[in-house]
C-alpha cells in the first residue's frame, strides 16, 4: 500500500434525517482517488441515502462533502449541475431511456453538455467499443439483456469523461456470471481512465472481487473500514462477520472460488486461515491438546486480493469447556472463528 494517496472525496460528519429517522448518522469517510472504494451495508443501513448525498442528488442536513478540495454540498443550483456533469453513475435497474436506442442513450449526456454532433457520433462509437457492444448501436433498449443494459449504462456514465463513477447496487439485478463480467469491465475502465469508483452494494462478493477499500455501513454509521484484505483477514465487528458468513452460505456447493461443501449438515463454526497459516497443522494440534473432535463439512481456499484465505466450515464437539478453550486457542493463533447460528 505504498504510494501517495490523494484524498479525492472527503465526507465530514454527514447527517441526513427523514421524518425523525436517521438515515445517515454522522458519516465521515475519506475516499481515495484512483481506487475502487466499496460501501457495503444491508438494506436500510443508509446506503441509498449516502449515495444520494455523495452524488449530490440530495443535500445533507449537516456535514460537508469535498471533491478534492472543493466543497460541493453547498453549491448553488447552476454550479451543482456543472459539477454533476463530471460525475458518472450507474444503477441497479440501469435506468436507461426506453425512448432511445443504445447509441442514443450514450449520446444523451453529451447532448446536454452541448458536444458537437460529430463529436457525439465518434464518441458513441468509441464508447460502444469500450464496453463491447459495437454491433448494438441502433438496438432498442428492450432488446438488450441485463448485462448489455448495464454496459450501455456504463458507457453513458462515462460519456462526458467523469472523474468519479458511482455504482449503486450495479450488479444486484444480474446473475453471478454477468456480475463477474460487469465487475471486470469496471475494474478495467477504472485503470484505463484513472477513475475514482465508489461501489455501493450489499454483496460481499462484489467487495471481495472488485474493491480495494471498503467501509461497512450499519444503521447509518460506518462501523468498520479499511483495505479489503485487512477487513477479510481480521473482521472486527459482527456486522462484517455476518457479511462474510453470507459469502460462505452463498457458496453452498461447488463454487468458482473452490469452497466445497460436501454435506448440508448444519455446521456451527467457520474458521478462516490467513495466508501464512494455511500450511500449519493447527487443527491437529488443538485436537490433541484439548481432546475435541472436528467434523469438517466443507472447506476451500479463496483469494482475496493478493492473499489466500482458507475457509473451513465445521463442527467442534466435546466437553463444553474444552470446546471453548479450543476456540480460544485457535483465535490466539490468528485464526478467525465465526460462530454460525443455525
Amino acid at each position: 500500500m505504498a504510494g501517495e494517496v490523494e484524498l479525492q472525496i472527503e465526507l465530514k460528519n454527514l447527517v441526513r434525517t427523514y421524518d425523525n429517522v436517521h438515515a445517515v448518522e454522522d458519516v465521515s469517510l475519506s475516499i481515495p482517488s484512483n481506487q475502487i472504494f466499496g460501501i457495503i451495508g444491508l438494506s436500510g443501513a443508509g446506503k441509498s441515502t449516502l449515495v444520494r448525498l455523495i452524488s449530490l442528488l440530495e443535500k445533507p442536513d449537516s456535514g460537508e462533502i469535498y471533491y478534492d478540495d472543493e466543497r460541493v454540498d453547498s453549491l448553488a443550483e447552476k454550479e451543482l449541475i456543472k459539477r454533476r456533469r463530471h460525475v458518472g453513475m450507474i444503477f441497479q435497474n440501469f435506468n436507461l431511456f426506453s425512448s432511445r436506442t443504445a447509441g442514443q442513450n450514450i449520446a444523451y449526456p453529451m447532448e446536454i453538455c452541448r458536444y458537437s454532433r460529430d463529436e457525439i457520433e465518434s464518441r458513441v462509437v468509441e464508447l460502444l467499443d469500450l464496453v463491447g457492444l459495437s454491433d448494438r448501436k441502433n438496438a432498442p433498449i428492450s432488446t438488450l439483456s441485463g448485462g448489455q443494459k448495464q454496459r450501455v449504462a456504463i458507457a453513458r456514465a462515462l460519456a462526458c469523461r467523469p472523474d468519479i463513477l458511482f455504482c449503486d447496487e450495479a450488479t444486484s439485478a444480474l446473475d453471478p456470471k454477468t456480475t463477474q463480467s460487469i465487475l471486470a469491465l469496471i475494474k478495467d475502465i477504472q485503470k484505463k481512465m484513472n477513475l475514482t469508483v465508489v461501489m455501493i452494494t450489499h454483496q460481499m462478493e462484489v467487495v471481495r472481487d472488485a474493491c480495494d477499500y471498503v467501509a461497512v455501513l450499519s444503521e447509518g454509521k460506518v462501523v468498520e473500514q479499511g483495505p479489503v484484505k485487512e477487513l477479510f483477514s481480521h473482521p472486527k465487528t459482527n456486522v462484517t462477520k455476518e457479511f462474510m458468513s453470507h459469502l460462505v452460505s452463498n457458496t453452498r456447493g461447488v463454487t468458482e472460488e473452490g469452497v466445497v461443501l460436501w454435506s448440508d449438515f448444519p455446521a456451527h463454526y467457520i474458521l478462516r486461515f490467513m495466508d501464512n497459516r494455511v500450511e500449519t497443522p493447527v487443527i491437529s494440534h488443538v485436537v490433541r491438546r484439548y481432546d475435541v473432535s472436528f467434523n469438517i463439512v466443507g472447506a476451500g481456499i479463496q483469494k482475496v486480493g493478493d492473499i489466500k484465505v482458507g475457509t473451513m466450515v465445521c463442527d467442534i464437539s466435546g466437553d463444553d469447556e474444552m470446546v471453548a478453550k479450543a476456540i480460544a486457542s485457535l483465535k490466539k493463533r490468528g485464526i478467525t472463528v465465526e460462530e454460525v447460528h443455525v
Binding site: 449541475i81 453513475m89 444503477f91 435506468n95 425512448s99 446536454i112 433498449i141 453513458r156
Partner: protein, 224 residues
C-alpha cells in the same frame, strides 16, 4: 318519411366537414393550452409524486382550476363562454365560435392526461438524467415527454374522441356540424333518417380516430 335527397346529402357532407374543422382546431388549441398546464402540474407536484420543482400552493391552485373546469357541464360552459367567443371570433354562433368553448373545455382534460402520462415515467430514469447534470428544462423536453410519448398519444386519442362528442353537443346551441344537423333536421323536423346518418358518421369518426391512435401508440411501443 321522405328519402334523403342529394341536397340533404350535401348538407351532411358539409356538416361532417364542419365537425372535422371544429374537432381538429379545438384539439390543436386544447393541446396548446393543456400541454404546458399538464407539464406545470407535474413538475410542481410533491417530490414523492415525481415533482422536479415542488410548488405546493401553485400546484393546489392549478389542480383546483382544472377540476372545476372539468366538472362543469359542457353545455353550460358554452353559454358562459358566449362573451369570450364573441370577443375572439366576433360571433357566438357557428362553427368557428364553438371552437373557443371546445378548446377551453378540453384543455383541462389534456392537462390531466399530460400530467398522468409524465408522472408514469420511471422515476429512476429521471434520477439518472438528474445525476448527469440535466437542467429541469432538459428533463422535461428530452426525458419526460419522449419517454411518455406512447401514453401521450393514447391520451390525445381520448381527447379527440371526447371533442367529437362535445362538438355534437355544441349543435344544441347553434354550433354547426353533425350534432347541429342531427338536432335541427333529425329531431326538430322528425327526419329520423338524417338523425341516423349523422349518428353513424359520428360513430365512424370515433372508430377511425380510435383505430389510428391505437396503431400509432402500438407502433411506438414496438420500437422500444
Amino acid at each position: 318519411m321522405s328519402s334523403i335527397t342529394p341536397a340533404i346529402w350535401r348538407l351532411i357532407w358539409q356538416s361532417t366537414l364542419q365537425t372535422l374543422q371544429m374537432v381538429s382546431l379545438s384539439t390543436l388549441f386544447s393541446v396548446i393550452l393543456g400541454l404546458p398546464l399538464g407539464i406545470l402540474l407535474c413538475i410542481t407536484s410533491p417530490v414523492s409524486q415525481g415533482g422536479l420543482r415542488p410548488r405546493p400552493v401553485l400546484n393546489e391552485v392549478l389542480g383546483r382550476v382544472v377540476n372545476i373546469l372539468r366538472s362543469f357541464p359542457f353545455i353550460i360552459l358554452i353559454i358562459l363562454l358566449f362573451p369570450l367567443s364573441r370577443l375572439i371570433v366576433g360571433t357566438a354562433i357557428g362553427t368557428k365560435s364553438t371552437i373557443v368553448p371546445l378548446s377551453i373545455a378540453a384543455a383541462p382534460f389534456v392537462a390531466r392526461v399530460v400530467e398522468t402520462a409524465l408522472k408514469e415515467v420511471d422515476p429512476g430514469v429521471v434520477q439518472a438524467a438528474k445525476t448527469m447534470g440535466s437542467t429541469d428544462l432538459q428533463i422535461v423536453f428530452k426525458v419526460l415527454l419522449p419517454e411518455a410519448l406512447p401514453s401521450l398519444v393514447s391520451g390525445l386519442t381520448l381527447t379527440i374522441i371526447n371533442l367529437i362528442g362535445y362538438s355534437a353537443m355544441a349543435g344544441a346551441v347553434g354550433g354547426g356540424g353533425l350534432g347541429d344537423l342531427a338536432i335541427r333536421y333529425g329531431y326538430q323536423r322528425f327526419r329520423t333518417d338524417v338523425l341516423l346518418v349523422a349518428v353513424v358518421v359520428i360513430l365512424v369518426l370515433v372508430e377511425v380516430v380510435q383505430f389510428a391512435g391505437n396503431r400509432i401508440s402500438a407502433k411506438m411501443m414496438s420500437k422500444r
